[in-house]
């Protein structure tokens, strides 16, 4: 049987959870069980059912996130589950390896496609920071698959879902969360389907209004290059690239970013790349699907106006 971790983001199952559900239901021969810590909001279980989850176990009794307690609680509910799918979000990255140890499972992270099960169980995963893919045959009977968000297409497979409760006794947390600073109401960069990113070509942080407006019209998130984050023009959390966040949106628009190999490493898996740069020799054009050579300050207002018109 196949299980998934239904990461509970203030009661909501984000798209990455639905992708894990869809992945699990496409590989399972029968049922998919989701495990969620804390009560999901009204109607959220139906979202899982739409993608093939027929049982939801809601774990109660745990409070603040603690990788050790959470992974122990998840694993305690994995009876008869041999393949476990978890989204490769920060929370998933904290839990996946611990769950793999507790299940004595083979672990594959950064998985980007459905497995090939003709001869064994071979998964495709991203390696070399966007510069390659590897195929790994997972040899243990138990398997933990950490799926990169935005990698597979959601396939509906509606089923009826039953909900069970599982109460655990919280053992003493060895960790305490003492504060958090979370951007609310914004799409997390790793889950955004459209990302508008800008670099030093924007000349200064005061010029980011146009970048933000284009992102907002397109319903996307904003990102930036390393130099921009290093100069504190933009927050570190927006930095994409080899040493920043790796993303793979459907559309990546890079404005005034030359396209150094370290930047490409974080974005090259994007489905469609648009490059806007005044230097026709910018290396980024070689990795782009669409491009405009010209001044961002002239081009952005046109794009914002056209995007507004296209959205109406």
């Amino acid at each position: 049987m196949t299980g998934i971790y239904a990461e509970n983001s203030e009661g909501i199952f984000k798209k990455s959870v639905l992708e894990a559900a869809s992945y699990a239901s496409q590989i399972s021969k029968g049922s998919v069980t989701a495990i969620c810590i804390g009560q999901p909001s009204e109607g959220e279980a139906d979202k899982l059912a739409k993608y093939g989850v027929n049982k939801l176990i809601v774990v109660e009794g745990l409070h603040a996130f603690d990788a050790q307690n959470y992974s122990n609680a998840v694993t305690a509910n994995l009876t008869d589950i041999h393949t476990f799918v978890i989204a490769n979000t920060y929370e998933g990255k904290s839990l996946g390896p611990r769950i793999a140890v507790l299940m004595a499972a083979s672990l594959a992270t950064n998985v980007v496609d459905l497995p090939n099960t003709i001869d064994g169980f071979t998964v495709k995963r991203g390696v070399f920071s966007g510069k390659g893919f590897a195929y790994v045959n997972l040899s243990r009977e138990n398997k933990v698959i950490a799926l990169t968000p935005n990698s597979i297409e959601l396939k509906e497979n509606p089923v009826t879902i039953s909900i069970e409760k599982s109460v655990v006794n919280e053992s003493e947390n060895l960790t305490q969360i003492t504060g958090s600073n979370k951007a609310t109401g914004k799409i997390p960069l790793t889950e955004a389907e459209i990302v508008v990113s800008a670099g030093r070509g924007m000349k200064g942080p005061e010029n980011w209004g146009m970048v933000e407006e284009l992102a907002s019209v397109l319903g996307g998130a904003t990102a930036c290059s390393k130099p921009v984050a290093d100069m504190d023009w933009r927050p570190h959390g927006e930095h994409v690239g080899q040493t920043g966040i790796t993303i793979k949106p459907n559309l990546y628009i890079a404005i005034g970013i030359s396209g150094a190999i370290q930047h490409l490493a974080g974005v090259s898996s994007s489905k469609v790349i648009v490059v806007i740069n005044k230097d026709p020799e910018a290396p980024f054009f070689k990795a782009a699907d669409y491009g405009i050579v010209g001044d961002a300050f002239e081009i952005l207002p046109q794009l914002i106006a056209a995007a507004k018109a296209a959205k109406n």
Binding site: R98, K131, Y135, A183, L251, V274
Partner: protein, 239 residues
């Protein structure tokens, strides 16, 4: 500590795409591990203690491990085995950590070659310690460890009891560069080579490929930028 190809390496594969082509590749300390090493040195300079580098690799890793010693580590242990995957590496490391009586183990967020991001969490579970991922701050004070780490959509502060394992994210510190004195001292610091423990296989890499090369970029005129939006909507169908 992982030994990885330099960040500017052109990635190619050999032996019918079953192996990473190491010809002409320069190897370096994994950049995230360089941060965890530097931070470990800063913490021990403040609180006292020693820093041991542990790596899983064959003899060719020694030159890179010596660089870590030159940066300032007290000693190093190299487990003499091919680092086949993150799970194999974690099992080897857990074995020596159990015997070593360490208070804190720092890893990188991930290695920049296989990008597993597994070792921190695996060690946490194998040792039954707390594990704190992707930390932008790590400190020890009053017998406890204090962290700031990235979470989805933000950052949070965490306190943990010792022993603890944590992984380094960019911004943790400025990596130290070895000076001449450090390089000279590293030559005589202990680098102990030990045999691996036997571990049942977790998986096997069967093939590699490079991303499909892009077709030539389709350019639009800067005066008619609106055509780009039209192409994104009607041709690429992404907006």
């Amino acid at each position: 500590m992982s030994v990885v190809p330099d960040t500017t390496t052109k990635i190619t594969f050999t032996d019918n795409n079953t192996k990473f082509n190491t010809a002409g590749v320069q190897f370096i300390i994994n950049p995230y591990d360089e941060l965890s090493l530097t931070r470990a040195l800063e913490i021990t300079e403040k609180n006292g203690g020693t820093v041991t580098i542990a790596t899983v690799g064959l003899a060719e890793a020694d030159a890179v491990v010596r660089k870590g010693l030159a940066i300032g580590a007290t000693d190093a242990i190299r487990i003499n085995a091919e680092p086949v995957d993150g799970q194999f590496v974690a099992e080897q490391l857990a074995h020596i950590i159990k015997e070593g009586g360490y208070d804190m183990v720092l890893t990188g967020r991930e290695s920049i070659d296989y990008n597993g991001g597994q070792v921190c969490g695996l060690l946490g579970a194998l040792l039954n310690w707390p594990s704190i991922n992707v930390c932008t701050k790590i400190d020890v004070a009053d017998g406890k460890a204090h962290f700031e780490r990235d979470i989805d959509g933000g950052r949070e502060s965490i306190t943990a009891s010792l022993p603890v394992v944590a992984s380094a994210q960019k911004d943790l510190c400025e990596p130290r560069i070895p000076n001449m004195k450090g390089i000279m001292a590293a030559r005589t610091k202990p680098l102990n080579v030990i045999a691996p423990i036997s571990v049942d296989a977790f998986g096997q890499y069967s093939a590699f490929e490079n991303p499909v090369p892009k077709q030539a970029v389709k350019l639009f005129d800067a005066q008619n930028a609106a055509q780009l939006i039209e192409a994104l909507k009607n041709e690429a169908k992404v907006i």
